[in-house]
Symmetry: C2
Subunit: 214 residues, 2 copies
DNA sequence: TATTTTTGATAAGGCAACTTCACAGCCTGG
DNA sequence: CCAGGCTGTGAAGTTGCCTTATCAAAAATA
């Protein structure tokens, strides 16, 4: 996959060098000479990662971060500088930078950093793998799905009432499925043994149903 | 579950009779003597079904439907009338009524109709049962989930590239899982055998990931 | 107090999912 | 043209899910 990189660097020679190096690494690069130009470009096109010089005429790289994040929240940001101090590094990270690189830096290392920053900004799975196994395994059975949908309608139900609504004749069979649903974390029982949907169960059911929008 | 009923009937005696009969059927009834009162009530409280007389002083029952649906899109609507004609029935159904009842009607039958109308307006599962079986069964396996997430990131991938990204050593094992995913309808191959997510696959992955909100 | 209903557990067998192994055709690159 | 890589299928064995049968304790009702 070809990463789309937004580069803001006012030094012409360095800008050309960076652009060429990243292109050789298989990335698409949009090179700008100012933060303002970079913001204009970000309004036109989606980017995976932005590489911003800290000090530039006009807006600094750090000042541009908030605007970039407003335009494209998923974009990674790397701040580069020739005069790194602890204060400038901390300030950049506080302002939302994902990485802070002091010049000069190794070009291959830069490409590696870009890929890492991009990977870290990728959306993460909502569910841990073990939980996902249980949740989707629970949902792969029609009896269990039907039980969940009845709990959407009735909010709280006792075991045998739910068993009859779902239409299962053998309550020990139904009990097996209810235990699967409990282990998956989608439902719970209160102290009176009444079943109800957990928060996660409600979210899952919300997704399962095509509900009318207001 | 106790249904919440909004009743609009200008005839006092009939209104009291209906209210009592529905209450005896275990329903919560908010009785109004006009459509305007009913709309006021609907602004204050959620209802499952509205029973509206066709002809009333002020707004008619049919005229109230659009306003009620704007306030509460999921509400069922039953129009009642003493002077039913084909024209008035068609007009009411066109304007969004779920049922049209000519007076006099059997009170027990009314309660049954109310329950049926409510059930029909319940949100329906997005997926047919057979499809849901396949989709959730496909998602219950970690290898298959990982394959989908890689397709989110890379958009299109060839078989062996995807196999290596997911980290499966035996390509015939991986092939089995890819066939499961194809049968579930979450992925497809183009003419060059490159895998990509279907529309349904994209929706499912969108749900699986906790993506940043704008 | 006795009976019925509700809720729950375990074991065993059948069936399906998954893994492993063997094999093969097609495509690409040298 | 040949070798290597890619893509794919089927059979057999292993593992796990689901159903059925049996049993039982607790709670509710008459």
């Amino acid at each position: 996959m070809s990463l789309n990189i937004l580069l803001a660097e006012d030094d012409l020679e360095l800008r050309l060098t960076l652009e060429e190096a990243l292109t050789l690494e298989g990335m698409q690069v949009c090179a700008c000479d100012s933060a303002e130009s970079a913001l204009d470009a970000a309004e036109q096109e989606g980017f995976d990662v932005a590489i911003l010089d800290l000090v530039m005429p006009g807006l600094s790289g750090v000042e541009a971060i908030a605007n970039l994040r407003r335009l494209q929240p998923g974009m990674g940001v790397i701040i580069t500088t020739a005069f790194a101090t602890v204060d400038t590094a901390v300030d950049a990270m506080k302002k939302g930078a994902d990485e802070f690189l002091a010049k000069p830096f190794n070009l291959t290392a830069l490409a590696t950093t870009v890929r890492r920053v991009n990977a870290e900004r990728q959306p993460q799975p909502k569910l841990a793998d073990e939980t996902a196994d249980k949740v989707f395994s629970a949902l792969s059975n029609p009896i269990r799905r039907q039980a969940l949908l009845q709990l959407v309608r009735h909010r709280q139900l006792r075991f045998m009432d739910l068993c009859r609504l779902v239409g299962v004749e053998d309550h020990t069979k139904f009990n097996f499925h209810m235990r699967q649903l409990k282990q998956s974390g989608l439902i719970q029982q209160n102290v009176n043994k009444v079943y109800f949907l957990t928060t996660e169960g409600q979210q899952m059911c919300h997704f399962l149903l095509q509900e009318e929008v207001d």
